[in-house]
Symmetry: D2
Subunit: 165 residues, 4 copies
């Protein structure tokens, strides 16, 4: 995405039309701005249209008073996977509501994977299911997110930020 | 709670019987172990039986690809307030499920407050409502958490950790 | 609302501008078409802008295999209160998602009350809290609904239906 | 299950040990007592351990003020499928909380199918996903239910009721 800031051409002209290429471009654009996911130590394993797979090791600073991973960090990983899945079409989309069921605790040193799959998109809203698993495949949380499409595009948004400097 | 690690007496003998004093003691015990809430920059403003009020400034490393506070950090603040409210009776209690509605974005520099109030406790389960507001009083998220009481006590748990050294 | 079907004048010209009068008119219009709520034996006690209070006796045909009120009928009462509260501004609004926590069983012969209050409205979406209580005031369920405003108006919608005959 | 009411033998002695046979017996026992599901016109298509598939035509008395199926009746069908799936092991289990996302309206005359699948069971709690579809296969609602196992058994419960006459 660094190209687009240097280029005099219109960014939308450069916008890939192949769905997977578009998802890849959006992923890079979002990731470069997403200090939160970067700081959490999240790794993107795969993003496809309507889909994302991410990984995050549970660090010592993510552990709560019960000696288990604070629910906020489990939620955060699921929420990042949700965000990358629902923005993969390059239409700015935000979380409207999320529901998480905690099934089992995660502990320091566990490596969590979040897999986000699209269940429904209709009009401005969508529903995504995100499953959080440990590396052994054990499900530790089930997350369901409702997305809401707002104005603007992910890559065009980056462009506007760049041109405002 | 540092007393309990030095004291040869039984910790439950020292356990306050006044509900507010118990809530205070539990709060200190949980906080001392809660590296996650500490690392998030959360401040405890008040904990009462079934109630908690906390504050967290939105830092630069909490901002996502839409230039707004990552939902995971908003959730984490609410979840911490939920945890301190539902553990305030000194019975180990965990989050079973949480639902969050995002009403408005929060931005870097905003100071968020989470107020947790108990709506219901019956048997092992409880329901808590947590409202997230900016300092101006604007609600930015509504969180509803279902708690589940497990075995053990918060302060007794601390004791066991201390005696294992 | 039967007037509007007979009247040659434009219905929106007759639309009350006082918020409570508008809520009353909308309530009558919705109720007259709402065979479901009528068939459930629901009674409207009060509707105000963003607010509704309703009552429903638990009938023998609402009891499930555990000898308690089927969750679907508890949900239905809450959902009706939600619908009347969020449509009280005369803008067609539907339920986008609902969450219900069951706190205690209700039994045949219990009379349930559902009180719906608005927690947030912003853009097209809103959040409403509905509490289900028995007549003794005991809470038996907590319901949170997300509303979504669609095209059209409640009273104008009635008019269009009438004029199509 | 009519046998058990006539039989002088202990019902648990007659309780099938094969999981599918047990699920069948529980289904019959629950259904015979479930006036709510019967009155709603629900048909059971299949119940297996942790699974249920049911059908319900949308009747005229299920239609609300927007001329679409009242959310309460869509919820009720999903909730019945949930109940039969999570009780299929013959351990009394109730709904603790449910979340439903409405994707598209259903109309009078539509025949809805609810398919309940188990996502997780651990200790006393479980998570089930129920998808509501029209006969054409279009998803109209996604329901996620949290189950909670209480004391007693479904078939033994029937026995006690029978012996109290």
């Amino acid at each position: 995405m660094t190209d687009s800031t240097d280029s005099p051409t219109n960014s939308t002209a450069n916008c890939p039309t192949d769905p997977q290429a578009l998802a890849d471009a959006v992923t890079q654009a979002m990731w470069s701005r997403d200090r939160a996911s970067q700081g959490l130590g999240i790794q993107i394993l795969s993003v496809k249209p309507g889909y994302a797979l991410m990984r995050m090791p549970v660090r010592g600073d993510m552990v709560n008073g019960h000696h288990t991973c604070h629910g906020g960090f489990m939620f955060a990983l699921a929420d990042s996977a949700f965000a990358f899945a629902c923005n993969s079409y390059n239409q700015n989309t935000v979380a409207s509501a999320c529901h998480i069921d905690f099934l089992a605790p995660a502990r320091e040193g566990d490596v969590l994977e979040a897999e986000a799959v699209e269940r429904s998109v209709s009009g401005r809203t969508g529903v995504y299911d995100i499953t959080l698993r440990t590396r052994s495949g054990k499900a530790v949380a089930l997350f369901r997110g409702k997305s809401y499409r707002i104005k603007g595009e992910v890559i065009a948004g980056l462009e506007q930020v760049a041109s405002s400097h």
